[in-house]
Amino acid sequence: MAAEIEPIVGRYIHLRMGGRPYRVYFEEAGKGIPLVCLHTAGSDTRQYRHLMTDPAVTEHYRVLAFDLPWHGKSTPPPGWHEEEYRLTTEAYAGAVMGFCRALELDRPVVMGCSMGGRIVIPLAAEYGKELRAVIGLEAGYQVQPWFDNTWLHHPDVHGGEICAARVSGLMAPQSPEETRWETLWGYMQSGPGVFKGDLYFYFQRAEADFHGYMARIDTKVCPVYLLAGEYDYSCTPEDTQRTGTHIQGSEVIIMKEMGHFPMSENPDHFRSYILPVLEKIRTRE
């Protein structure tokens, strides 16, 4: 019997961001419209492995995902051991656009989840002409803090265990046990302080900035799709609805029996929501 080998290919690219050199890991599969996928805080590209092995997606899309510096198989910058990692809007947007430009992607679709869903808002506002569409999963322009995140990087607590335990309840009870636990396995592996540093961006009070971004988005140039799982109590469906009302022409889709990690906690169920969106984007032109 032939070995089962997935079509996903992983490589490394060297990028300069904010004047510093980075070795960035990325994966891709498929041919067609570039679809750049952004993982959640404290995790990595493995969250998109199901999307990348779905022929219904890869038939029309070149699906790419990169590990943000400090995450997965991307290295932190030289000197990381003497600094506290903190993600900012500028650094995050710069990393995404730097990756797209370095690979000379032609008007990619950018899809991100959670913090990746939040960053698509400034991306659509600032770089809408370079993008074909953005998809925000569990994307709120301002979510409310509910946990003391200092515990995520604290010598009295095991980092991997607490990162996973903090997010486990954000998934829907209907999602399969196997994929829920694989999602948590990803959370158990980030470097010390990385999840906390990502959440600095995710929870940062920047309502004025984000109101500016949302008002500037032209959805005729760069359509915006916002998908929210009903079981996500971090970025609630109400948070996503509120974001949608501020982005004129955006489309909000509430996913039943789904939580904060749609692409990895229940990939089969996610297909029923994401495939029509990808079809809409593809046939729009």
Partner: protein, 122 residues
């Protein structure tokens, strides 16, 4: 339901194993009824219904009776999948010295949701 925690927890070998380094006394309040729960090596050694004035505890988890019932539904509604979700809704409070709770968060979330199993949940 809280009174059933010893049988629910101590009969679950893997759950006890996850709490194997734990020795702690904590308070659970269901509405205005306090329960003092003692844990040794991941096993629940006692659950005492209070009040017991001046009895100390490391941390307290307090929620309305309605919120606990919703947490314990076999398939919980959105917002009630774990105690942190109930807290975010403003229907639970977690107070005191949280280090043992946070260092064993998966264990405590499973302990506090264990009555779900009496209703066929997991």
């Amino acid at each position: 339901m809280i009174a059933k925690l010893p049988e629910l927890v101590n009969g679950d070998e893997r759950l006890v194993w996850r709490g194997r380094f734990l020795a702690v006394d904590f308070l659970v309040e269901v509405g205005d009824i306090p329960y003092y729960v003692s844990i040794q090596s991941g096993r629940i050694t006692s659950v005492d219904r209070g009040p017991f004035p001046m009895r100390p505890w490391r941390f307290a988890v307090r929620a309305t009776a309605e919120a606990w019932e919703k947490l314990w539904e076999s398939v919980p509604q959105p917002g009630y999948t774990d105690i942190l979700g109930v807290m975010k809704r403003g229907e639970a409070r977690i107070e005191g010295d949280l280090q043992p709770l946070i260092a064993n968060l998966r264990y405590f979330k499973e302990v506090l949701a264990a009555p779900r199993r009496l209703k066929g949940g997991v």
